[in-house]
Symmetry: C2
Subunit: 191 residues, 2 copies
DNA sequence: GATAAAAATTACCCTATGGTAATAAATCTA
DNA sequence: TAGATTTATTACCATAGGGTAATTTTTATC
């Protein structure tokens, strides 16, 4: 839980009351590999801050293929943001890739925190803005880079994730098949 | 300018003072087809709300090919959000596709508006959240749909844009070449 | 309305990535 | 450690979409 508090303190100065409030609406939870935190179809009123471990959100297409929208490692947030922000049932599944510890927040409580503690506004805004930036960059990468280039960007962005995340999840994040990723990696190793 | 005021009023109740303040930090401007609102490399402290017309933001890759990140039509916001949120030089260009009228905001002024008028917080948040949702959906589409399917989603999402936007811009948004889009359209017309 | 310019289509061949399947390697489990 | 299971690799052929270029259609300009 300290992670988050420190992270907030990097961005705003946090009163003891505000810190207490955070503790009151948050709950630290541990999940083991394979556990589902959000199930497709469910109502989503939770969002998770990752303390350690790795998780992903993904959708399943009509042919049953999985497509990874997001990975989350330490200090990242994860949820089904489409469902959460639109107040509609989850179209995504959020699962643990490895044993993980997260802080679970009630989304409404968290969104309203600035009412009691206006100093949270810039922190929340910054979090959302950073999210937008990372999505814009991802889309630009998808538009202009080859599979190999996208893979290189990925391992730069998540330097340690490969040890923990199976290859086919990375492939499904990059928008290619597991086999193509294998080829791409072979290609890369040759050079 | 009424567009924006009405749009805000749909979401929050707006005092006369707040309305005046909006007018004071905004400037309605008209641009003609082809004009550049944000140039790659520039510092970005402006964001635009579209009154009418159509604009796009795009990047240029190492081979000189353009990739459209976003279209903006009536009631949408457009800027280089990567540059704006990260306080770095623009990596995108924002240009008018057709003659357009926009409201230009100083980004800092707009971001700080909640300090004087806290009732703006939910409006600003909602705008950001909607942005995140649309980007998540775009990424999911890119991961799981074929070019034809993405094209269909596109024309559903922007029903009238085709009359105004050249095909090669749409192609560059969908992540395919102009020629592929042409094929896709021919395919679609056949059925 | 004629001409020029821009945009869209079509054709041809090429390449990156997909699909299926077999094999190999790694990991888990008893 | 053996066997089972999961994951990764490789091979083969198939296909969606790319590249170049020629042609047609549309739009702008005089």
């Amino acid at each position: 839980m300290k992670n988050l508090i420190n992270r907030i303190k990097n961005s705003i100065s946090l009163s003891t009351e505000a810190e207490k409030y955070i503790y009151s609406i948050a709950e630290e939870k541990s999940f083991s590999k394979g556990e589902i935190l959000i199930q497709e179809g469910q109502t989503v009123n939770k969002t998770f801050f990752v303390i350690h471990g790795s998780l992903r959100s993904f959708c399943v297409d009509k042919e049953g293929k999985e497509h990874t929208l997001q990975f989350a490692i330490q200090d990242w947030w994860i949820s089904d943001f489409i469902a959460m922000y639109n107040h509609e049932p989850a179209s995504l599944t959020v699962e643990c890739i490895t044993d993980s510890t997260v802080i679970e927040f009630n989304a409404q409580m968290l969104a309203q925190i600035y009412l009691q503690f206006p100093e949270f506004e810039p922190f929340q805004r910054k979090t959302l803005e950073r999210h937008v930036v990372s999505l814009h960059k991802r889309i630009l990468n998808q538009l202009q880079l080859t599979a190999l280039e996208r893979y290189n960007v990925f391992i730069e962005q998540y330097p340690n994730i490969e040890q923990h995340v199976p290859n086919y999840h990375i492939a499904s994040y990059l928008g290619i098949t597991q086999q193509s990723l294998s080829r791409v990696r072979a290609e890369k190793a040759k050079k």
